[in-house]
């Protein structure tokens, strides 16, 4: 009970006018505040995540009002809180827009953002490099190949696509890890080269599969490859929500050993971490997140780079805080990017990946230069 201790100290200070006593009190407090800044705590994590959750909810509500059909906030809130039974002044069309189009899309954007940001933070910790990112490492592309194989050869089903995407992401993760890994972690040069090799190899696979498609589908595929959240349906969204929650929770549970592995795998091993097992678990969870988000939303780039970086810079590098906070912030980030993508040149749309790359690529260059 920190507050009761400080209360006791405060009363003691009030009762005794002893100067010496007062001085020790200030020293105590300085030591305590120093320690508080020196590390992340559960309290700090809950406060940061709580604040980010509030921001996420506000952004979602604003995003739901925006679009070709503007929905009044008051009516929208009433409709949401009554689960659609009391839609107030909303017309039937507006109601359909809200529940069948915008909400699934916002939920999908949130899950894609949360998945990519949380997996980005974990890849960075595992590869010990702040430049690691699912899109740049070719892992999103691996998931894309998996998705396309499922679509072209296995028939489009709500389950085969995410499953095959998961498999593709996992395969790409292992290849990149093998190629980029060195004794002191992955050097940026090796990492980027590994990403380029994996990406180009898979791009040719994508081109090959595309030639097997008929012309009408090709356009929608190119769009999807750059990140397209317009295909969200109320049914597919549940797969995304569940897998995102499972993946982010799994990564957060591995955050403490991941903290140690981030500083060196051998040291982590010495300190009692089952390095191989944790690595496999993190690979599985991160690949699940990337796979499902790509299967449903395409390859949205740079989210996994920008968001964890901002979270680390403004709060702490402790993964127990970074991973859940990055998930929440990433959700907000992609909702904003997608709202921009569907409104700036309305009635036409931009792929959401174009917006995130616009923000992410300059940051990537900055990070690369800063070293």
């Amino acid at each position: 009970m920190a507050w009761s201790k400080s209360l006791a100290r405060f009363t003691r200070k009030l009762l005794s006018k002893d100067n010496v006593n007062e001085r020790t009190t200030t020293i105590d407090r300085n030591a305590a505040s120093l320690e508080r800044n020196a590390r992340a705590t559960l309290r700090k994590t809950l406060i940061v995540c709580g604040a980010l959750a509030v921001v996420l909810i506000l952004i979602s509500i604003v995003a739901a009002t925006m679009g070709s059909e503007r929905l009044p906030v008051a009516d929208l809130l009433r409709a949401l809180f009554t689960g659609g039974t009391n839609t107030g002044a909303l017309t039937a069309t507006q109601r359909a827009i809200l529940f069948d189009i915008r909400l699934p899309r916002i939920l999908l954007a949130a899950t894609v953002g949360a998945s990519l940001a949380a997996s980005g933070a974990s890849y960075q910790a595992l590869l010990r490099n702040a430049l690691a990112e699912p899109y740049l490492l070719g892992i999103s592309n691996g998931a894309a190949v998996g998705t396309m194989v499922a679509l072209v050869f296995l028939g489009a089903n709500e389950w085969t696509r995410p499953l095959m995407a998961f498999g593709g992401a996992l395969a790409a993760t292992f290849v990149v890890y093998r190629l980029a890994r060195g004794r002191a972690g992955a050097t940026p040069e090796k990492l980027i080269l590994a990403g380029v090799i994996v990406t180009t190899f898979q791009s040719s696979a994508i081109v090959f599969i595309t030639t097997l498609m008929d012309a009408t589908r090709i356009r929608s595929f190119t769009f999807w490859l750059l990140g397209d959240l317009s295909q969200a349906t109320p049914r597919s969204i549940w797969i995304a929500v569940v897998s995102t929650v499972v993946g982010v929770v799994a990564l957060t549970l591995k955050a403490r050993p991941l903290n140690l592995m981030m500083l060196g795998e051998r040291d982590a091993f010495d300190l009692g971490v089952e390095v191989e097992r944790v690595r496999l678990q993190v690979f599985l969870a991160a690949s699940l997140l990337v796979g499902v988000s790509v299967a449903l939303g395409g390859s949205v780039g740079y989210v996994g780079l920008v968001v964890p970086h901002l979270v680390r810079m403004s709060t702490s590098g402790d993964n127990r805080l970074t991973i859940p906070a990055a998930a929440l912030a990433g959700a907000s980030f992609v909702i904003v990017a997608d709202t921009l993508a569907r409104t700036v040149i309305a009635p036409r749309e931009l792929p959401v990946g174009a917006i995130t790359a616009l923000i992410g690529a300059p940051l990537f260059i900055y990070l690369l230069k800063r070293r």
């Binding site: 590390r39 010990r128 403490r256 040291d267």
Partner: protein, 262 residues
Amino acid sequence: MLEAKNVSIDYGKRHAVVDVSLRVSPGDLMAIVGANGAGKSSLLRALNGTIRPSVGEILLDDKPLNSFSRRAVGRRIAVVTQEALLAFPVSVLEYVLGGRYAWSGSGTWGWESERDLEIAARVLRQTELENFSARLMNELSGGERQRAVLARALATEAGILLLDEPTANLDLAHQASMLQLVRAHCDERAAAAVIVTHDINLAAEFANNVVLLKGGHLIAAGKPRDVLTEELLSEVLEIKVLVDAHPLSGAPRITPAHELRR
């Protein structure tokens, strides 16, 4: 408490360690001395299970090391290496608290307990880093960082410390104080330490047990006085050395006798 039994380590065709047996007991500070490539670090790495011996076995409390979980080993054996390259900024306190990982339970939601914080505060005091807890590791000087590495090892409360050239980056005063700290840790807590070092004089002064390695073979083992002789050292290090008694401590003092070129 920790024992190597007829341990050999091969890297492909190269034999790094050949049929070495040694044993450390509570209170022991054992120094492993030898030239570069004599197999010192490999042997040390085998003692905590990082490297698996090709032949022989490592026993911890008379049970095979493999039969312990990594966590259990992490609670019993701590390793101090030369300061590592850190890819991410981390505060000294966070770094030292890493030593508490093997003790983490389910009661604190994966966060450090009050006891973990108390232990961290204690070892930071012992290593004279109490005012550095909020500083970032990569802002520290080489010597301060090396002390933080030792602090993390002490924070594990392990009964066995394995140190791989822990004094390499330290100035004279801090070399001695680091070994004094390890010595005191062994004496007060009935802990054992195995230290790989090139600094034979420090080994002579602080160790109660010295092992000489050459080309992976154990040449001699025993009290510093018996092992650190001109004959044995000249053979192991392949350089002529003079050994006399340190004027203050009486411990063997080793001086390399270079053939001076003019």
